[in-house]
């Protein structure tokens, strides 16, 4: 089978951004795409983050968004028809105090970006240095024109601080410029289920040139303190304006004005501190916020920016991927790497990687299986291994909750079902076909342990933490299958696989295979730990009342007698029972106007169709490539790929990697571009809701594992690389067991250093 490039034909790309190797650039304000730009130009530092909302007043359509990692609200579940087992709430990372706000007045006319006339607008996200910059001229109703330049960043060198510089230059007049920087805690979540308020006011303070606000989430009672401290320069000289300050509940502001001559520049620097009760006692929180805010203020904008640039340089040194000859591809991979690093740094095992990071509200900001299935390899190869370990520990810490979750659904004896969506280990999602049936997430969590130990050789992890999780997961699988008297085999009914365009399927191959793989792997790990750490093993046996012989005997019976659908006389692994009864059509034969089908077709039509939302059997073959022949991979890829609509962001990367392995270069490239530029080109018309953060790690995989062909064999990394014809060369680093390995691929071949 051969593929002609579908890259140009089938997509509905929205292209309004300029290409650049290190920058995302919007030239001329694209009003109708502003909410998408707010997502794309987001900044963050793993601890908090901020959509690219304007600092000055903006009365146009906007999704105001400022988020603090780990601070969530248990929003009451909204459901049409309750089913037993649904959780009471959906945990949401919630919109927090707006710290970017600066109202600007030109001689008593307020600058409103939405209604004043703007020109020469440009917005630049500098990924190398880690800051967001805007410049524009704005004409007031009176005809007065000023130039504005605004730069801001969330510091990764000091992750409790941020800074904004906001300059105004009168272009055609001399007059009073008034600034009103503020903190506003009276914010709400756009996606609130019942339009409830999520925050309570605790305290607001204001001083000359300073302001502080402490708010508390309802129910969860997280306290967040945000501070601002100001500096002002005129003609590059620091001045001490006469501040008027005031505060009320949920609000603190300063206010000052200054006469500025035509052509002169006044700059307001707003230094920001953001701390939460995750890291400090509530009693100390305001004091710690003041400390952070004043620390930033003391350092000053330029020094903070220098530190920011240095810190980002350190990130890039290890994580950068250089692609020559294809600027779109180059820009895209850096955008993906940049956003991953803005979202998660691995410093806090309570945190995880929300599907939208700090760029939007959708999906509640909680943890999905995306972390284990897509994000782990990126962090494993571009960070110290303790970062990946933190991600594993997160799930270990939630084991008790996973056992409770399984109990709610009727499972017993320490069976663990990890939640589909979670913040603190409790299930948050409420669609029966997902919450109760998309149980393959348990597999991904087990696989992450295997993947991590395989990559790092940190075998102690198994005896310390890993085995506990594996036993809970295997107990779940052993209870979730049932013996079919008709087949004289085990079957697994009522499952939703990764392809969510099938619900309540029987014998989903991916899930069933994963179940038996978990059982096989856990039996191996049991043997290893029993030998290497007999004391630890004994403790676990006791703690979990683990009847090793009986339980593993049953597991072996399942392994030996599990039913897997296969198309007779072929290598085709059947996605689920009844798949071959469907009308088997191809995506290329679909009318463009019907795509994405999830926006055009009714749900029953989608379910009955053969179309696949995201890799399902192929996702399994990606994970378990080593257990199948290349011919099997090829036959299944050729069968399923043409039916895959990739309406999940998590699909193209896996297809890209498999296509690269199978030598389908055009397909691999098409899928790479689709995964890497998903948000920049807004394929699915949803960038305004936030970026697809977790799939960005998949983009990294499609270069390193796809084109680069990286695999682990025993204790070695192997690279079976290919060079897409659109590229002159590419190179990347991976950190493997303490060593940095550089891989460079060009037409001359592969060089590994």
């Amino acid at each position: 089978m051969s593929y002609t490039s579908l890259y140009k034909r089938t997509n509905n790309m929205i292209k309004y951004l300029k290409t650049d190797p290190w920058k995302i650039i919007e030239e001329g304000f694209k009003r109708k795409h502003h909410r998408s730009s707010e997502s794309i130009f987001s900044i963050g530092n793993g601890r908090f983050g901020q959509r690219a909302n304007h600092e000055e007043k903006f009365t146009g359509p906007s999704l105001q968004g400022s988020y603090v990692a780990g601070v969530y609200y248990p929003d009451k579940t909204r459901v049409g028809w309750w089913k037993n087992g649904y959780p009471e709430y959906f945990a949401k990372v919630l919109n927090s105090t707006n710290w970017i706000g600066v109202r600007v007045f030109i001689e008593d006319e307020e600058v409103d970006f939405a209604t004043c006339i703007t020109s020469n607008f440009s917005r630049v996200l500098d990924m190398k240095e880690g800051h967001l910059f805007r410049t524009f001229n704005i004409e007031m109703p009176s005809g007065k024109i000023v130039n504005v330049e605004a730069k801001r960043f969330c510091s990764i060198a000091d992750d409790e601080t941020a800074a904004i510089s906001y300059s105004v230059t009168p272009l055609n007049f001399t007059g009073m410029i008034r600034f009103q920087p503020y903190l506003d805690g009276d914010v709400k979540n756009h996606d609130s289920n019942y339009e409830e308020k999520f925050w309570e006011h605790l305290k607001s303070e204001s001083f000359a040139g300073e302001g502080y606000l402490v708010t508390r989430t309802r129910k969860t009672e997280f306290d967040v303190a945000v501070g601002m401290a100001l500096r002002v320069t005129l003609k590059n000289k620091e001045i001490e304006p006469s501040y008027h300050h005031s505060q009320r509940d949920f609000y603190s502001e300063n206010n000052f004005e200054k006469g500025v001559n035509q052509g002169e520049t006044i700059i307001l620097y707003k230094f920001v501190g953001v701390v939460s009760s995750l890291n400090y006692s509530k009693d100390d929180l305001l004091a710690m916020c003041k400390k952070a805010t004043r620390r930033a203020h003391g350092l000053g904008f330029e020094k903070m920016l220098d530190a920011q640039i240095l810190s980002w340089a350190a990130v890039w040194q290890l994580a950068d991927i250089v692609i020559e000859g294809d600027e779109e591809a180059q820009q895209a991979i850096r955008f993906n790497i940049f956003q991953m690093n803005q979202t998660y740094t691995g410093e806090d095992a309570r945190l995880n990687i929300g599907p939208k990071g700090f760029t939007g509200e959708k999906y509640g900001g909680s943890t999905y299986w995306d972390t284990e299935a897509y994000c782990l390899p990126f962090y494993m190869s571009t960070k110290d291994q303790k970062v990946a370990r933190q991600l594993l520990i997160y799930r270990y810490n939630h084991l008790g909750r996973a056992i409770e979750n399984a109990e709610k659904l009727g499972f017993k004896n320490g069976a663990a079902l990890y939640p589909m969506v979670t913040m603190n280990g409790e299930e948050c999602h409420n669609e029966w076909e997902i919450t109760f049936e998309e149980i393959h997430r348990n597999g991904a969590i087990a696989y992450a342990i295997y993947n991590y130990v395989n990559y790092t050789n940190d075998r102690n992890y198994l005896s310390e933490y890993g085995l506990d999780v594996l036993i809970g997961i295997c107990r779940f699988w052993a209870q979730r299958v049932n013996w079919s008297e008709a087949k004289k085999q085990y079957v697994m009914h009522g499952v939703t696989g990764p392809n969510e365009y099938e619900n309540n399927a029987n014998n989903n191959w991916y899930t069933s295979y994963f179940a038996t793989w978990c059982l096989r792997y856990c039996i191996k790990v049991i043997d290893e730990v029993q030998k290497s750490a007999p004391d630890a093993f004994s403790k676990k046996v006791k703690k979990y009342q683990f009847a090793k012989d009986d339980e593993t005997k049953q597991w072996r019976h399942i392994i030996d007698n599990m039913y897997f659908g296969k198309l007779e006389g072929t290598n085709i692994l059947l996605q689920q029972d009844g798949f071959m009864d469907k009308e088997l059509r191809k995506v290329v034969d679909l009318n463009d106007a019907e795509r994405p089908i999830n926006q055009h077709w009714s749900w029953d039509r989608i379910l009955r169709s053969c179309f696949i939302k995201q890799a399902d059997v192929l996702q399994g073959l990606y994970f378990f490539e080593h257990e199948f022949s290349t011919q099997e991979l090829k036959d299944n890829f050729d069968f399923y790929e043409p039916m895959t609509v990739h309406e999940s962001s998590l699909s193209p990367c896996v297809h890209s990697i498999l296509a690269a392995k199978l030598g389908y270069e055009e397909k691999a490239y098409e899928m790479y571009m689709r995964t890497s530029r998903l948000d920049l080109d807004d394929y699915n018309h949803e960038a305004h809701e936030g970026l697809h953060i977790t799939s960005m790690a998949g983009t990294w995989m499609s270069v390193v594992q796809g084109f680069g062909g990286m695999r682990i064999e025993g204790d070695e990394l192997k690279f079976n690389a290919m060079l897409p014809k659109q590229w002159k060369s590419y190179s990347f680093n991976v950190l493997f067991r303490g060593k940095i390995i550089n891989v460079h691929v060009d037409s001359a071949g592969v060089v590994v250093n």
Copy 2:
């Protein structure tokens, strides 16, 4: 197979009502069952109805409910995760102006039934005469005791009117008795999705001894006018008290007091008029309401009651079933017949039979497939055939909406999918597995046409209306199946059958069989109509662009090549694909504490289990009994019945009928008692939400078709009757093609007159 009676063992009956052949009696106020009593003692006349709320103040738990047929509100859909194709709203029969209210004061102490001390309480629903009566003594905090007697009814002789008589007799004092009868339109629905107000105030008026209120539903703009006119007697002599009257928005009251001597009785008569803009122009509505109210007032309570008794006698003359030797069974069947007649009279083709009638809010009060599958035979046999015809016309009138509904889901060419739940023909339900997948409702609607024509021989119905509906339904089925290349047969995927404990099943036998039956029947009807009414047929061909030859050719191909699952070597028709892979358990082996499973098990566990909510394959065998041998019926009954939990009210009646046919007398009796006393004994602990009105028609069927064995053969009715050993005799009438046939069964045999 034999059944021991499970009647006593497996149920969780709540028995607090006395047995009586004609009455439902509560002796002594059962406080914790009051909300159930409010449902059970409901009164109605097909045009409006009222839960058995107390007239006087009651601050205890209560579901206030007053409903006007056909007046609904489009409550905004509440859903966790939107799917394409969901309707925007859920139409609800909504709580309307409270017209029963009478506040009562004893010397300035207000009677509150919840807090004053009551004794000698009795509540009686007289089904023979059609009224509700309460009597009790009540002791005020001061120690004053009065006797109260309250009787009320909704007139079926004049269905725009109702009347209440409310008497107070001081037992241990002489003093002032004050009455404050009122109309209160400021009501809400307990089950409102977003706690919105459904009503707007239009007008309130009050006069001495009279009051009126006109309110309007939001969005749908139905106007409802309710009036009251008062009479008072003291010692049985009419008096003219000095009324104080007042009104405000949503409220109108009168207020008077009278000195009453110990032992004397004062009676307030409240005459009520209820009219809506369904029947009058909005401009005339208040005038028409006054007319109705004053008509009742003019007639007086006794004359109205006489007319009520006469009208009910006429109903009973035809519809009564007499059971000798089993008072529980006797009371139950009359309760079912009584409630059916209170709910639907067939006078208005815009109305239908809500699952809760006028007894509660649950299920929105709209139309389900219950009407066609369960209710039609009752109305066909106990009313003039025009009543059943009205029920059919209701669906004919909604054909255009059913076609639109199918279009929304991607069907074409005039395919019609009738809604799962509707008020005006538009779909109201929003669960994908029900709304989009429980498509067998289309079959029941076609079957009702067959059933009606078969019973009445009104063959003109086919050429006038029936064929139109059948063509739309058949076009749907023809598009809903798909050709399986693997099977070389047609399959039907993504279906929920009547057993809602399976979702998104493939090849649900009931639905697939019904689809082909529809196609077969429609082809026959086409031939008949083409011959008998060629002009009408030509018009339809043109109106629906019906390509008879091509379309029926395709239908025949489906009929000849449809896939039906069958257990090899047996008569077992497989409920759906994969059923035999389940763990096949029996209901009797379930722990009582786990039942009903829908209140104890998670949804995925229910779905994966073999347990059946309600007749599915057996429902099909009930409908199509004539197409199967008795052995086939028996084998399937023996297979499926032990797995059926009957957690739908619609299940026991069908099992009772089949059991009777198969000679399983104990099972037939058990199921009869379960269906007939479902609410009286509150098996499913949900009577407080309202009565199971539609399943009550099923109760009637289990006597007439079950024990009575009534079947149509050609132009004749046949009775293959049995007598349960608990009964001495039973007898019933059916109206068949203009003749009343009386059937009497006792140990001596069957007498048909």
